[in-house]
Symmetry: C2
Subunit: 101 residues, 2 copies
């Protein structure tokens, strides 16, 4: 009945974009196979929130920066996702670009 949290929505979006099941994602992130399904589901239904290390492993398997999972603003979240795919040089150019308006 309760509203879905930002973390829950971003996690689901990223997982579906990746095309894996809740159980598969959990296993990929190193969670025991008999627990994976329940835990990922609890995260996506915002029943619970994982610790930072688990969040990091989930993000790594989903090919998004961890920070993406925590960002409430949709535009900023999308930018974080796009920046996650950028090269080091591209990022440095953008930093320079944004620091000197």
């Amino acid at each position: 009945m309760e509203e879905r949290s930002v973390f829950a929505r971003r996690l689901r979006a990223a997982r579906e974009a990746r095309g894996v099941s809740q159980k598969q994602l959990g296993i990929l992130a190193g969670i025991d196979q008999f627990v994976a399904s329940a835990r990922i589901n609890q995260y996506e239904r915002s029943k619970h929130v994982p610790d930072l290390h688990t969040a990091q492993r989930l993000a790594a398997e989903l090919n998004v920066p961890v920070s993406y999972l925590y960002e409430p603003d949709d535009d900023l979240a999308q930018l974080i996702r796009l920046l996650g795919a950028c090269s080091r040089d591209q990022r440095h150019q953008l930093i320079a670009q944004l620091q000197t308006p």
Copy 2:
């Protein structure tokens, strides 16, 4: 003796940039004044991690996006901080720029 977590380091960096004490930050974020000091200190020493709502309130008072507090990559973290200060239009321009290289 243990290593400082990403969240702890970012929180301290943002707080010091803001020039407020641990206790002040806690109070600004709505934490009880008799508990504020201990809790912020536990976060900065990575003894504990706050729930998402508290993290959001801390970030808001520190003038950084919440996602900044969770990002391990220094370049990406800096970009997130810079993007947090950008206008909606600037963000949209950047999204367009990054989507079609």
